[in-house]
């Protein structure tokens, strides 16, 4: 197994993206270190680690060089939105709940292929987030909130085909839409 770790600094001081330290370690465990202030577990691709880390765990056999392109920028985007404070939209928005990021990570681990383009990741005002793709004639929006089911809206703008519903791990409908991106 290999991992990408996104830990917090010992001092707790926030650093800008440019200042974030990137390191790697042993042959069986690869790590990128980025600073953030939350502990977030993203199963399959990102798992629980030491306190205040986002750890991305890759399938056995994957090396640092074969990490899917979407993984690292996605983990960075999660780390970025977790740093938002109350009122981040100028209209009383709440901070992003780490549980929403955990849930989103679990979802991505289920639906993403190595070549799937990275989603746009946007925070929502009540502590959730949206994963969005708008390409190849498709609009796909996934809403992830800490205390509600994951909801999906997808439309093929060329054919008019639409799908709207709740996502569950054993439902392959969303995966089939994602494959068309």
């Amino acid at each position: 197994m290999a991992s990408i770790a996104i830990p917090r600094s010992n001092t707790g001081v926030m650093l800008s993206r440019k200042q974030r330290d990137v390191t790697s370690s042993g042959a069986t465990m690869s790590r990128y270190a980025l600073l953030t202030r939350h502990e977030v577990a993203l199963p399959a691709f990102i798992s629980a680690g030491p306190r205040d880390q986002i750890i991305v765990t890759l399938d056995a056999g994957l090396t640092e060089g074969s990490i899917p392109e979407w993984v690292r920028p996605t983990a960075e985007a999660f780390a970025d939105i977790l740093e938002l404070r109350s009122g981040w939209n100028s209209y009383s928005a709440q901070p992003v709940d780490p549980r929403a990021v955990e849930t989103a990570g679990s979802l991505l681990a289920c639906i993403m292929a190595p070549s799937t383009p990275m989603p746009v990741i946007v925070p929502t005002v009540r502590g959730g987030l949206q994963l969005e793709w708008h390409r190849n004639g498709l609009d796909i929006e996934i809403s992830v909130n800490p205390s509600r089911p994951i909801t999906v809206y997808a439309i093929d703008n060329r054919s008019g085909q639409e799908w709207e519903g709740e996502w569950s791990p054993d439902d392959t409908t969303l995966s089939s839409w994602i494959q068309r991106l």
Partner: protein
């Protein structure tokens, strides 16, 4: 809040014409390039009611003009934000009310109504930039 509650608590101000532009601040987190539309636009996440439960805040461009202000006055103190415009007619078409709420700013109004995913997507795709994001300037 649903249509009935909004009608009672935040009734529509019919003195605001349908072609009036309602201005909404957009943080950079809510801006991305939509490849299908070929342009940068706000996410539907930018058009939710406030985090404290109040209806969605907007500013009336007509009042701003009448006070000899410019739209960028809405962005005062909010660096790195863009300003999106929605017509009052569009807002009403989507079963929302436009209600004055000038406590902190004479141009401030609220848009009340159920913000379903479909409603918010409509706002996002049919809005236009009054002051575009810095990345487009």
């Amino acid at each position: 809040m649903d249509e009935r509650e909004c009608g009672l608590l935040f009734p529509d101000d019919r003195s605001v014409p349908d072609d009036e532009v309602l201005l909404r601040r957009i943080p950079r987190w809510h801006v991305f390039h939509d490849e299908n539309m070929g342009r940068v636009r706000p996410s539907s996440a930018a058009f939710e009611d406030d985090g404290d439960g109040d209806p969605m805040s907007v500013y009336l461009s007509g009042i701003i003009q009448s006070e000899k202000r410019t739209p960028d006055s809405v962005l005062a103190g909010h660096a790195d934000y863009a300003l999106a415009g929605l017509s009052a007619g569009l807002v009403r078409e989507l079963q929302q009310t436009v209600h004055p709420d000038a406590r902190d700013d004479t141009a401030h109004e609220v848009v009340c109504g159920s913000k379903t995913d479909r409603t918010r997507r409509n706002f996002a795709k049919r809005s236009h930039w009054v002051i575009p994001p810095a990345t487009l300037l």
